[in-house]
């Protein structure tokens, strides 16, 4: 039996319905994958090779675009290799290792695995190294160091990274002996207050792992009190009046007001504590 030719309008409608059905099918398949628990989150299970390539490529292209605006200063003037080494020893060697030095167990069980930096430090431009160190890489074990190391310290670390691939085991060890009493510098502040930065700070100091905070995405946590509607509170931790000055001091050093509090001292830099206190007080 021959059908009559389908009119144009009908074709468009059928195509549209077909597209919607396809989208729903895709969404259903995605939901099925998520809710069935079939996707394994184990770090012992390898990626598919293609997945790995895609993620690597995505990182490189993202860096190309995002690190573009970074102006690299004259490293010979601004950066000190010894300071960079001190930072590397304090924060990086545990996951990345060093010439002749194996990474600690913390760096051995990760997926993706922290790279050995001999190759990338040689091949990547300083701006890319700086960007990754400063901002971290999401959904990997690479933290952001922007709120833990000063700008000078970060550039010093980059300068060190640029030298590191050319060091022998003995040179690296000798540098360690020399920089033993140098501390990796903490951020000195001097940034103006902004709501965005304050939110990032809460996340970078992992406040949101214990406290629910407006504007910061995080787990539904009940470990500490929620920080919503902060200005209305009468007390901080039930012991001191809730003022901006007291709050900044509390954030920077909780044990001063309450020696047995379970809130840990997160080594919060004073300016960051003030910005976070301001954020909480300017919430409605």
């Amino acid at each position: 039996m021959r059908h009559a030719p389908i009119p144009h309008r009908r074709k468009v409608l059928l195509l549209g319905l077909g597209a919607v059905a396809l989208v729903l099918l895709g969404a259903g398949a995605g939901a099925a994958l998520l809710l069935s628990g079939a996707y394994s989150t184990a770090a012992t299970k390898q990626h598919f090779a293609i997945t790995y390539r895609v993620l690597e490529t995505g990182l490189r292209y993202s860096l190309e675009s995002n690190a573009e605006e970074i102006e690299v200063p004259d490293l010979s003037r601004v950066a000190k290799i010894e300071v960079g080494h001190a930072c590397y020893r304090r924060y990086c060697v545990q996951c990345h290792g060093a010439p002749g030095v194996a990474r600690d167990p913390i760096g051995r069980g990760q997926l993706p695995s922290p790279s050995r930096l001999e190759q990338s430090a040689r091949e990547w431009p300083p701006s890319h190294l700086f960007y990754v160190t400063q901002k971290g890489v999401r959904m990997t074990g690479m933290p952001a160091w922007e709120y833990r190391i000063s700008q000078e310290g970060l550039w010093s670390t980059v300068a060190f990274l640029k030298r590191m691939p050319f060091m022998t085991q003995a040179e690296y060890a000798a540098m360690g002996a020399r920089s033993d009493d140098i501390a990796c510098p903490a951020p000195s502040g001097g940034h103006p207050y902004s709501v965005e930065r304050a939110r990032t700070m809460f996340q970078q100091y992992s406040c949101h792992n214990c406290h629910r905070i407006d504007g910061v995405v995080g787990p539904e946590t009940y470990i500490g009190p929620a920080l919503h509607e902060w200005p209305a509170r009468a007390y901080i931790a039930g012991v001191v009046p809730n003022t901006r000055a007291n709050l900044a001091r509390w954030i920077a050093d909780p044990q001063v007001f309450s020696p047995t509090t379970l809130m840990p001292d997160m080594d919060v830099v004073d300016e960051h504590a003030q910005h976070m206190a301001r954020y909480l007080f300017e919430q409605q």
Binding site: A21, L35, Y222, G224, G238, T260
Partner: protein, 130 residues
């Protein structure tokens, strides 16, 4: 029925059956729920109202409890900590309710004139808050 509509129906029915199977697998499970020995949550609710605990604390289910001097007690059953210093253990909570300053000398929460049974009942109500 033409071939196209049959195919569409088949697709939809597969999607629907998969979806409904998955919905059954939803939902969080909580293994640990604190239990207060000898405490009755309903009596506790009345006790919290009678003692005006809401003057300092916001407590769901208690009329007029919207104080902001102390922390909100919403979802108290899920708090891992008591007063930011102790594990949220039922016996510690009962002690805290009657004599907080003996456990934390600088706290703003006073020692209250509650008998042990009232404190147990109040604790039972607080732990029932999800």
């Amino acid at each position: 029925m033409n071939a196209l509509s049959v195919a569409r129906l088949r697709t939809m029915s597969i999607a629907l059956s998969a979806w409904s199977a998955l919905l059954g697998a939803c939902g969080e499970q909580r293994d640990y729920r604190p239990q207060v020995r000898g405490g009755d949550a309903q009596r506790g609710q009345i006790a919290l109202l009678r003692h005006d605990c809401g003057v300092c604390h916001a407590i769901p289910g208690i009329i007029g409890a919207h104080g902001r001097v102390g922390p909100s007690l919403a979802s108290y059953g899920r708090f891992p900590h008591l007063a930011g210093k102790f594990p949220n253990d039922p016996e510690l909570l009962v002690r805290w309710l009657t004599d907080a300053p003996s456990m934390a000398v600088a706290t703003a929460m006073p020692a209250l004139d509650l008998d042990e049974q009232e404190a147990r009942d109040m604790a039972a109500y607080l732990y029932s808050l999800e």
